[in-house]
Amino acid sequence: MSGLIGIFAFDELWNVSRILYYGLLGLQHRGQENAGIATSNGETIQVFKGEGLVEQVFREKILMELRGWYGIGAVSADPNDKQPVIVSDDSKQVALVFSGKILNKQELAAKYNVNTELIDADFVATCLLKEYSETRDFYEAGLNLVKNLRGISNIIAINNAGEMIVYRDEFGLKPLVVGSFGFDYGAFASESCAIDVIGADLKGDVHPGEFYYLNQYTVERKQVKEPRPKYCAYEYVYLARPDSRINGVWIYDVRRKIGEILAEKYRVDADVVVGIPDTAIPFSMAYANKTNTPVELGFISTGRKIRTAIKPNQFERLIGVQLKLNPIKPVFRNKRVLIIDDSVVRGTTTKNTVSLLRNRIGAKEVHIRVGSPRIVSGCPYGVEIPPEDELIAAHLSEEEVATVVGADSFCWITNDDLVKAIGLRKENICLKCFGGE
């Protein structure tokens, strides 16, 4: 998975690299392994990318050197996925950022004569260049390519001739929004919070199946495929930032609703309710408001904010969790504690936390509620979810999990609870990782 941004200034006086940089900071939670930016002045494309967080990759000197009036950027959660991808033939350069999963790679590989072993972003960029070389028209090339793609694909691509294309697949599994800044530039980003961070105005979602083409003289919108919305439920529970709005729904509203559902259906008598930072805090606040249980701040993190669940290896996850969750002891001591978490994937983090609260601090009771349904299978569309044999929910009942992690009680919400909280039609929500449709 990755977080994408694209900025297109209509006036060549602009230098967009710093705007892209801050936009990427706003998307950092969507990928913390790689970060990159490509900019162009309409003649050539400059690209810079590296491993690590956005702030680690881009030093001041690099931002000063990257210049151009339009550009794209990405953060990635996959260490092998280094974006933006830049490809070129004799005269043409194309840079592309991508989020999703291509499902007809064999077919496309045969059509475009491209190696299937390329990872998706590189694969799609190469296909686009082939189309572009053939049609000599970036608009046509983009349209042809996205018509041929099957699967999940959010794409922002530029060439070195002052053009940009943007596409969100017909399922709209991953979010993509559009904004603008005055009379000066258009902006596209995986999440609306990035549009806020760069000080642009959010205009709305790029609709599923919608294609944008931009140059200095025109912006065209085209509905390439009939929308068949399958919005990713995991975004609402966990991935997206609570200050974002995707598919017309505020993430924070969903999370508050989940807290209320926990209060209505999964209530437990407790002296204090504590949310695991950061995602579960709105759950705990809504739960507390509904039940009149005191809500407290229970954990303080050390160092940078790291998204532990999307860290690729167990050791790094453990470091992340330990640094993230230093408990504030008086909150828990001698109390009946309700902990609300945003997801329980492998159960290891929860086990550590419960044992800390009970054995080291002296909580009287520890109950766990999870603001997401059971995660029982991996994501076929490229969201970083561990393989099935690592998923505790796929193997144990709630009762068993409680025993394993050492809690007094343990509950997940159901898929229907989540659908209700999101407030969109069930058939328009993808619940695959939760064992649904």
């Binding site: 006036d11 006086l13 602009w14 705007i19 800044f181 009379f183 000080g199 709305g204 003289y217 912006v219």
Partner: protein, 491 residues
């Protein structure tokens, strides 16, 4: 009776059409640099004539008016006003509707307009600085990092306005760089060709809110307002892209706009009346014609002046002129005899939507947008319930060639803005270029989504300015600066 219209755009087509409906059955003549097919047709039908020529040349216009024996000249666009065409006509005793060159400063010089509003303490004014030298302008930008609108001090065909929100400290460097570069550009290119004004650049505080245009006619004393219209300045979909003269506009039922209250409309007219009064006092001359306030509902004031037009807006004029029931010639005669107070403007109660269609290249590369043959299926558009107002097109050897600006404007009316927008949107498909050159328009104008956004924005702004009004600080800026103390800045 013979009427001469000066100008050849969509606005002038709508003006011509309003004269055409007059029960006085005038013969209609026009002077224009292009042969506008819509105006040409009306001229021919009424036994008049379309004369090609330079509309900014006072002698040519006056000679032509004399030659045809015009009883009345109506000037559509602003440049003939700036060049003193009405002054010349008046000198020769030819009745003319159009602000004289001094009065039209209200549009030509943004610095003059702002100074006038300040001098006479008229509400709806904004903080601004005018600069004659580039050094002073750049020094100011360096010292004050703030959200600003940077404009050429003279009306420059709508070009060169840049609005920069400068709120995030972490993006300040980027914004400062663009402000400076743009300022340099205004001095070195946009304003370089104009010798008729001393101030070169205006830096105004940036305001936010829904915009609307109040178009008025005046005999110098009485001011009569047309229904409010809302224009859309962004070139492209989703309010993206460079500023244009306007890509389309809406007017609502009850001759109002859905996001504007009656009180705000009245306040806006009052502001325009005050400006007309102040203008008369300031220049010490009589004037008559059209004066329009391009306004915004802002947190500073509520109704606020962004700019003045000494003319109808384009496309805004195209929204309301077709609704006008009062006879255009009666109106003009009342203006000329200074009896406008005896006239009541009547309008049909319909919602209207105008959508401009422009060739790719407009607004920043008009050279690319020019000279593409255009095909308009007026029958189909008529059957759908729309009307075509021709703009920047020229009839050459039977072919219609684009002139680089908005080629045609589609007008539609309905029981609601949404309904009118749907009709207009369907009509757009029947305008195309023969050579396949791309045309663009704004499908979002008048859509439920866009209307909802505007209403939400208006509600936000209204809640702030009514709060400020209740605290008695409308038009004031109060701050406390560490180390300096309380600052009260009265507008």
């Amino acid at each position: 009776m013979k009427v001469l219209i000066v100008g050849g755009g969509s606005r002038e087509h709508a003006i011509t059409d309003a004269f055409y409906r007059s029960t006085h059955d005038p013969r209609i003549y026009a002077i224009s640099s292009n042969a506008n097919p819509g105006i040409l047709r009306i001229c021919k039908e009424t036994g008049g004539e379309l004369i090609k020529g330079k509309i900014t040349d006072p002698v040519f216009v006056a000679d032509t008016a004399e030659r045809i024996g015009a009883d009345l000249v109506f000037i559509g666009p602003e440049e003939p006003l700036f060049h003193g065409v009405p002054d010349k006509l008046e000198n020769r005793g030819i009745p003319v509707i159009g602000l004289n060159s001094k009065a039209s400063e209200i549009e030509k010089s943004k610095a003059f307009m702002r100074q006038l509003m300040w001098k006479y303490k008229i509400p709806g004014r904004l903080r601004f600085k005018a600069f004659k030298s580039i050094e002073d302008a750049l020094a100011y930008i360096e010292e004050y990092a703030e959200s600003v609108a940077i404009k050429p001090a003279r009306q420059a065909g709508g070009k060169g306005v840049k609005v920069i929100a400068d709120i995030q400290a972490y993006l300040r460097k980027v914004k400062e760089e663009i402000k400076k570069k743009h300022t340099e550009r205004i001095f070195s290119s946009i304003m370089a060709k104009y010798r008729d004004i001393e101030d070169k650049i205006l830096i105004e505080e940036k305001v936010e809110g829904p915009e609307y245009t109040i178009q008025c006619i005046t005999d110098g004393e009485t001011v009569l307002a047309f229904p409010p219209v809302q224009d859309n300045k962004h070139a492209f979909e989703m309010e993206m892209g460079p500023e244009t003269g306007g890509m389309g506009s809406i007017s609502g039922r009850g001759n109002m706009l859905p996001f504007l209250t009656k009180e705000e409309y009245r306040e806006s007219i009052k502001i325009i009346e005050s400006v007309v009064k102040a203008l008369r006092k300031e220049i010490g001359q009589e004037f008559r014609g059209v004066i329009s306030g391009q306004m915004m509902l802002t947190m500073v004031w509520g109704p606020t002046i962004i700019e003045f037009y000494a003319r109808f807006g384009d496309p805004e004029g195209v929204n309301v002129l077709p609704l006008l029931e009062t006879d255009m010639i009666d109106i003009c005669e009342a203006i000329l005899s200074k009896k406008l107070h005896k006239i009541k403007l009547r309008f049909r109660d319909r919602a209207t939507v105008v959508k401009a269609i422009a060739p790719r290249g407009y607004p920043n590369r008009r050279d690319l947008a020019r000279n593409h043959p255009l095909i308009v299926d007026e029958d189909k558009i008529g059957k759908l319930g729309g009307r075509v107002f021709y703009g920047s097109v020229d009839l050459v050897n039977g072919k219609m060639l684009t002139g680089g600006s908005r080629a045609v404007e589609i007008y539609a009316e309905g029981e609601s803005i949404e309904e009118a927008a749907e009709i207009a949107e369907k009509c757009v498909a029947f305008v195309r270029t023969e050579d396949g050159w791309g045309l663009f328009h704004r499908s979002d104008i008048g859509s439920p989504f866009s209307l909802r956004r505007m209403i939400e924005l208006a509600e936000l702004v209204r809640s702030v300015y009514t709060y400020r009004k209740s605290r008695g600080i409308l038009g004031k800026y109060i701050d406390w600066i560490p180390g300096r103390g309380k600052i009260v800045y009265e507008f």
